[in-house]
Amino acid sequence: MSTLDKSDVEKIAFLARLGIDEQDIPEYAANLSNILDMVEQLNSVDTDNVKPMAHPLDGVQRLRPDEVTETNDRENLMAHAPETEAGLFLVPRVVE
């Protein structure tokens, strides 16, 4: 039985850059804990002889030939950007 507390929910929300209301935190904590419980249940199955699955489709990735097929479509692709300058997207200043 895994139980997430308030600070876990806040951390997850921060990592996902989600703004959440203080009052909703208990509900999120309960729901997320339920999901973890389900995973715990899966953990109880003996999988020693099971090959790890990376994808539900039993397929193999198709390889693309190394060819340039895209042309410059900057004007179109950047049309939806809120702010641009000199061909660049502008975003709030980020400096580490």
Partner: protein, 477 residues
């Protein structure tokens, strides 16, 4: 206390593909911002990545070159983080099942010995875009041209014990990827970037100390300086009883110091999971063998061959083989003139000195292999002396043109070797006994005839002054 330095490197190598790892946009460097970023690279809704087979082939080539295990099945994972130059808010990488497993390389140390450094793994991933922080009225500009460029991240074991070893390792990896042609290795353009994990531990202790990560050090010189300055910083802290904080630090070349990169300490939590947009990457043993058959001769093998077959010294062979283009240039010249020692001396002497002075690479040398061959041939056939050859080389470097026309136009072709001139004169004297008699009996003007004959015999190459002088001496004796 005696401290032992422990260093591990993560090297990001841009793979030299024409198109991106998951899209058909061009990877060419230096284009106008965002003109080579398509809907996939921008992470627009509804797009799907399609994997570039050439990125796999080049990654496998590298793995084979370092005798690594090649994983026939590898898987792409999502590494989740938010940063504006990563528009999908995740980077497609390989965490759990990388394409290249354990391998190793031998590095060459200054004392001439070698040391084996383990490579933990190498995995494929996509590069991020670029953030430009200047000149945007307090905002940051984003160029996504680089987003989606294929990278091979090569992770070493913490096997290096000094900054010098770290540089030697980096140089070796650089040399290998350039030999293979899997990357252009251009550090100015960011095709070859290095992060260094550095820690100290008391000598004799098995457990590692707390490490710091030095980010994005982009020249061999800076790697050595950055690591050394970080070692000093850590040692000062430990000697005064402090503890090292595990963090990412940035090297400031201007101040020659490292400083903490993150203002807020937060543990990274990338929440990796297999990317559902991509199926497992599978490569068969036959395909791996096919790739193996395309591997060129690698620097270590070439160096060995230069020593055993061509009789070069280990040191010269090393210097000639660390760069493939240098080695190719050398071999082309060597094969044409059939004199390894002379070719090596010229390349490591005159040519290297000029290249260094002008900060050029061998491929940009104004004197190419063919031109140098032309020059060395003139030395070998005694057209010019080694000394004059240096003047001719300088002229070739500065003004272009081939050795022959420079020797011709500058009149460098003359024979200045006294014994050579004497030999010609002796022949002429022997062939014209009656004129010699006439000269000796007082017909001084005949000197002109003899000079003419000697010049003719030497095809105009003999120095007339010397010819005159020697003739007078010989005829009057």
């Amino acid at each position: 206390m005696q401290w032992e330095v422990v260093i591990g490197l993560e090297i990001h190598v841009q793979l030299a593909t024409k198109s991106k790892i998951f899209s058909g946009a061009s990877t060419a460097y230096g284009a106008e911002p965002n003109t080579q970023a398509c809907a996939v690279d921008m992470g627009l809704p509804g797009v799907l990545p399609v994997f570039n087979g050439e990125a796999l082939r080049k990654s496998v080539m590298f793995g084979l070159a370092i005798d690594a295990q090649i994983n026939e099945r590898s898987v792409f994972d999502r590494k989740n983080y938010f940063y504006p130059d990563s528009p999908k808010a995740y980077q497609i990488s390989q965490l759990y099942y990388p394409v290249v497993g354990k391998g190793s390389i031998d590095i060459d140390l200054e004392d001439g010995s070698t040391k084996c450094i383990g490579v933990t793994r190498a995995h494929m991933e996509e590069d991020a875009g670029k953030s430009l922080h200047e000149d945007f009225h307090g905002q940051t500009g984003i160029d996504l041209n680089r987003a989606g460029t294929p990278l091979l991240e090569i992770v070493s074991e913490p096997d290096m014990r000094s900054a010098k070893e770290a540089v030697a390792y980096m140089r070796k990896i650089h040399s290998i990827v350039r030999y293979l042609g899997v990357s252009d290795g251009n550090m100015q353009e960011g095709s070859f970037r290095c992060d260094a994990n550095v820690s100290l531990r008391p000598k004799g202790q098995e457990e590692f100390g707390t490490r710091t990560e030095l980010k994005n050090i982009n020249s061999f010189r800076f790697v050595e300086k950055a690591i050394n300055v970080e070692i000093e910083r850590q040692m000062d802290i430990l000697e005064s009883g402090g503890t090292i904080t595990q963090e990412t630090r940035l090297y400031d070349a201007d101040r020659n110091e490292t400083r903490s990169m993150r203002s807020k300490e937060e543990a990274n939590d990338y929440r990796y999971f297999p990317d559902p947009d991509l199926l497992p990457i599978v490569i068969s043993q036959e395909e791996i063998e096919q790739i193996r058959s395309t591997l060129p001769e690698l620097p270590d093998a070439k160096c060995k061959r230069f020593v055993t077959q061509l009789g070069l010294s280990e040191k010269d062979a090393r210097a000639l083989t660390s760069d493939r283009e240098m080695a190719d240039y050398f071999e082309q010249v060597q094969q044409s003139i059939d004199d390894a020692k002379m070719a090596a001396n010229w390349l490591l002497g005159e040519v290297s000195a000029r290249l260094n002075k002008n900060a050029l690479e061998i491929k940009d040398s104004p004197v190419n292999a063919e031109a140098l061959t032309g020059l060395l041939r003139r030395i070998k056939d005694n057209t010019i002396s080694g000394k004059i050859a240096k003047d001719v080389f300088e002229a070739m470097w500065e003004e272009g043109g081939d050795a022959h026309s420079i020797i011709e136009s500058k009149g460098l072709k003359q024979i200045t070797d006294t014994s050579a001139i004497e030999a010609i004169i002796d022949e002429v004297i022997a062939a014209n006994p009656s004129q010699v008699e006439e000269f000796k009996s007082g017909k001084d003007k005949l000197i002109g005839f003899f000079v003419g004959q000697v010049m003719k015999a030497s095809k105009g190459k003999a120095n007339p002054g010397q010819v005159n002088q020697i003739l007078q001496k010989k005829l009057k004796s």
